[in-house]
Symmetry: C2
Subunit: 351 residues, 2 copies
Amino acid sequence: MSVPMTKVTSSPAKDRWGPPYLLYLGNAKDRLSIKTARGLAFWRPEWCVAQYAGPNCAEKLDLPMMDFKAAKAAGVDTMVLGVANAGGVMGDDIRSDVIEALRAGLNVASGLHQRLSSDPQIEAVARECGRVLFDARFFPHSIPVGNGKPRAGLRMLTVGTDCSVGKMYTTLAMEREMRSRGIKADFRATGQTGILIAGSGVPIDALVADFISGGAEWVSPAREDGGWDLIEGQGSLFHPSFAGVSLGLLHGSQPDVIVMCHEAGRQQMRGLPHYSVPSLKECIEANLTAARLTNAKVAIAGVALNTSLMPVDAGIELCGQIERELGLPCQDPVTMGTSKIVDRMLECVAK
Amino acid sequence: MSVPMTKVTSSPAKDRWGPPYLLYLGNAKDRLSIKTARGLAFWRPEWCVAQYAGPNCAEKLDLPMMDFKAAKAAGVDTMVLGVANAGGVMGDDIRSDVIEALRAGLNVASGLHQRLSSDPQIEAVARECGRVLFDARFFPHSIPVGNGKPRAGLRMLTVGTDCSVGKMYTTLAMEREMRSRGIKADFRATGQTGILIAGSGVPIDALVADFISGGAEWVSPAREDGGWDLIEGQGSLFHPSFAGVSLGLLHGSQPDVIVMCHEAGRQQMRGLPHYSVPSLKECIEANLTAARLTNAKVAIAGVALNTSLMPVDAGIELCGQIERELGLPCQDPVTMGTSKIVDRMLECVAK
């Protein structure tokens, strides 16, 4: 089950799902709950034909509204459940909509915790209609534990001061920047939204604990074409709930370069008001020290600063201040791009 | 499903398993493959009535041989699968022996990867005979992710330069030493052998990655009686395959004190000949730095040196040398006990 990384196909083989997409918002309550749909629409607009919203949907995207039959008629291949419920479970409304979409001839991909294929009725309808189900949080492959062996290729990993500071956006922005320069670069997804954007990847935080670094090795294998793997980071070495995931990902990625992601103004660690966000300097040092275990030559290419919560001018000024303090490029990938960070990254490996 | 921690009972309630034990060796090929049985016999000799060996068993323990019926007649409650196969799966010989043991009236506990309860025939026979199955590598509880909140109680965690250097033995030796002084202290198991010894615990490396630190918090909850939780460590921050597990366990344990475990003479990381074992000093510093995230007052109490591969005199000399170099007590817990390490640990928290 994979989708083409660059081309849109409207008639995938029977065991495949892929774009064009209908983004399912259901009865989303707020902005945060359509994070996955928003990420897809932002990073892969050419794949997103339409959205479907329920009668009580409070947040929408800037896309045409279509029901399942209209979407099928418009050439949509797959409906993506781009909505996060409390607990990641499917409500009855989502379940019946999924079944209706399958009957209308759409494949269905989901980023929910609860698997589509764990629902006997959905599974039966998909089989009956010859449609494909894809669960981004489920990893069906059997992989070995990490072996730490040096492997060919160039790899960048985004790391962070905290969870949800913009690691996926930064990684995708760097892919866009590098491809615009004609450099081979591929986003490697490690979370459910990233997997739905990339069409493949490893849901790293859903693996059994012993296989974290093995999962990172799997998603960015040896590469001989001179191109870059740009690996989506997760969590933070300084987040007491998830640091183990971050460390295993760091070791398995064997990055040549890391990029530090941070949200301007964030004071406390996400979900843990009793923990302060570490300083950029401390966090960079800790990541470099840990990363050296599997790649002694690792370097830091810059800081990706999420300034979405502050005025534009203040964001520009803060980036300049961080650049002077740390001697590293600092940009907001969404509003300023990543050209300076990519320049520095290429310098790092040219040495 | 739990066993009494200190008393032996021969007639547990119907949903419980426990000692007295029959240790099942099957057709073990070598010393390493009966590691679990050997650990049980060494640390809980009062629980281990007999052993059962197949016709091709190459390694045995110093226990009476009994078949299943004889063991039942001798008062055994539970047969423990104390043997590790390649891949942790049950062969046909083990499967048929388990069924025979259930029919003879024994409960069965297992440290294998493959779950007893995943075998429909074993499950059916257990139900038919009213016997209990226990899988030490399976964690049936639903737990939250770690929250990093400070909690009451005193906690020690063993950490290591590598995997398989003696963290479980060190933790159990410290429990023995402390109890002999009348100090309340309880071994908290995080691996399958430890869980079979303790009768409960969390198989930390079998948890989903997001729940590592939550698992550590679960196994050593807030404690108000002035006693110690002695937590069995796993892996090493310097092992590229498993460091994520070690870091999550370190953060979730919030140890007041760590004890560094090392095998004298080991040059390469287990299973990774391309990685050198870190120096004790470097490894201690890295663990203290990481541990401070959730407990700023963490201290190092000493070094537990596994000297089993060297002559006794050389082991004693090496311990002295390490003590002078690091200014910390250093003992082989099996041959020298842990009195100096425990003394230092108590000093650390008395400050």
